[in-house]
């Protein structure tokens, strides 16, 4: 499997950053960066990461199930993550998540039929003092109201 030149460069540097004989250490970061490019963690990707990190494919596979950001099925092009943990919940996070479900017409970890959006109710993502918070892909949005969420979603729709 080949990745983009930028990612190949990143992986080359990554594998050198750990002590000799410890390439296995790159498994988690390699999976998440690769997933961003391939869209999901496939059997092929697992085999590729296993080869590069010099471990058995099973040792990569067992890691995939553990981390909540690693996905075996593709997410939407825009993955909307709404936090409902305590700090967000106290200032409208739960209502915001319910609004997002209605707006997108999908539920937790579901993808819209056109593949544009997916939704996830997430745990604390470290934006407690700027709650309620939403992360779309890797972009943080703070103090999000239902109206603001609508705007964010519409802006993304227009872009694609």
């Amino acid at each position: 499997m080949n990745f983009s030149p930028q990612l190949e460069q990143r992986f080359a540097k990554m594998l050198e950053s750990y002590p000799e004989g410890r390439k296995r250490s790159a498994v988690v970061p390699m999976l998440i960066y690769a997933q961003d490019e391939t869209g999901a963690i496939t059997e092929e990707l697992i085999a590729e990461v296993a080869k590069r990190c010099e471990v058995a494919p099973l040792q990569v596979d067992e890691v995939v199930g553990y981390y909540s950001m690693l996905h075996r099925k593709p997410l939407g092009k825009y993955h909307v993550q709404v936090c409902t943990n305590i700090s967000c919940m106290l200032v409208g996070g739960t209502e915001l998540y319910e609004h997002a479900k209605k707006k997108l017409g999908i539920g937790h970890k579901q993808v819209t039929s056109d593949g544009q959006f997916s939704l996830e109710e997430v745990e604390c993502m470290g934006a407690c003092s700027w709650a309620p918070a939403v992360e779309i892909n890797y972009d943080f949005h703070h103090h999000v109201t239902p109206e603001r969420l609508d705007q964010l979603i519409e802006a993304v729709r227009k872009r694609s």
């Binding site: 950053s17 002590p19 410890r22 296995r24 250490s25 790159a26 498994v27 988690v28 970061p29 999976l31 998440i32 960066y33 990190c53 471990v55 040792q59 067992e62 890691v63 553990y66 981390y67 909540s68 950001m69 690693l70 409902t84 943990n85 305590i86 700090s87 919940m89 106290l90 200032v91 745990e123 604390c124 993502m125 470290g126 934006a127 407690c128 003092s129 700027w130 709650a131 992360e135 890797y138 972009d139 943080f140 703070h142 103090h143």
Partner: protein, 434 residues
Amino acid sequence: MPTKLYNEPSPLETRVLSKRFGLADSHTLDVYLANDGFKAFLKAHEMTPAQIIDEVKASALRGRGGAGFPTGLKWSFVPRTSPKPKYIVINADESEPGTCKDRLLMEYDPYQMIEGILIAGMAMDSHKGYLYIRGEYRYLLDHMDKVIAEAYSRGYLGKNIAGTGFDFDLYTHSGAGAYECGEETALLDSLEGKRGIPRMKPPFPAVAGAWASPTLLNNVETFSSIPVIIRDGGPAFAALGTPKNGGTRLVCISGHVNKPGVYELPLGFPMLKAIYEVAGGIPGGKKLKAVVPGGSSCPILKADECDIPMDYDTLAKIGSMLGSGGMVVLDETTDMVKFALRIMRFYAHESCGWCIPCREGTTWLRKILQRFDDGGGRHDDVALLGELSKNMLGRTFCALGDAAAMPTISIVDKFAADFEKRLAGSAKSQLVVV
């Protein structure tokens, strides 16, 4: 436009770690150098490792990740003369609900943290560090990669740093979504490419940590506190706080307050003053109901318990913890059943499943609380929640089991009336004969 995460300085704050926040390009080497940057590193270069550690001990700095362990003591556990390589691991897996401070330290003053890491490196004879950042903070991983590249190109990382002859390599390492990886031994397993499962202790990471080598693990804020300690001296830092609780810390105030934010306050700062003056009080003039003092795993405090100074020992005395600095304020309208349920949904989701009391306990607690919230509560549920939680305490490899049990015990104990009230209004509860 990304939100500016720091507040306008408040006269009530003591800005030590956050003093450069707000300066233009505060994340760059030039701005750092123009504002006391790397003076501590050069000073530490003239000191012996034992003197560095003694200075940290004298500062009464305690770990800012949550456990509050004395930092100088932790540093002294790493066997400097071990023939194995020594590693430094920086815990930037900030995931404790209510906590959002390490983001600012990395975004606005990354060199302060790097300088702290380098000083630790000199004290431990360590030459390699790994900055473990949670996967959700991708923008910070990218940001830190750029900062680290600048530091290498300007000779502040790599070989012969700032002409001192000291070498140090620093790398970022991405997590991929797991609260458990904030626990130091689970973080090490994750760093080694495995599922983040806590390890049996001893051996402690200081002796056998990353790749079975001696490893120093500290939180971002702990490392960020080191430069000022070395530059101005441990006693000066200690004097900012209260005895055995040195310095200042970034307190993340969230929930029902008018001005939520991250504020730098000295240890021992009055909690009520933090809520009513620093954070501007409770919206709508509502009454205070409860406070989560330092992240969701800390036992909750009732309003009448909050007239206290915020230091580790005072919080311990009243049966809670100062934790990670995540202070969540709840007003009188808060539904404590829903609050307890949300906390338990979190812990049940995040339990790594390694220890049965945690895996099963959090799941059962979540189910009971969910049933209760759905209107199917039973009269003996309050006692059952308490008993189940108490059976988890101290019976797991790591602190996640305790972290789930402690808030639950305190909520059902201190807010039993809220549970009773919900029971009275529930039709199903009438059907249960106890």
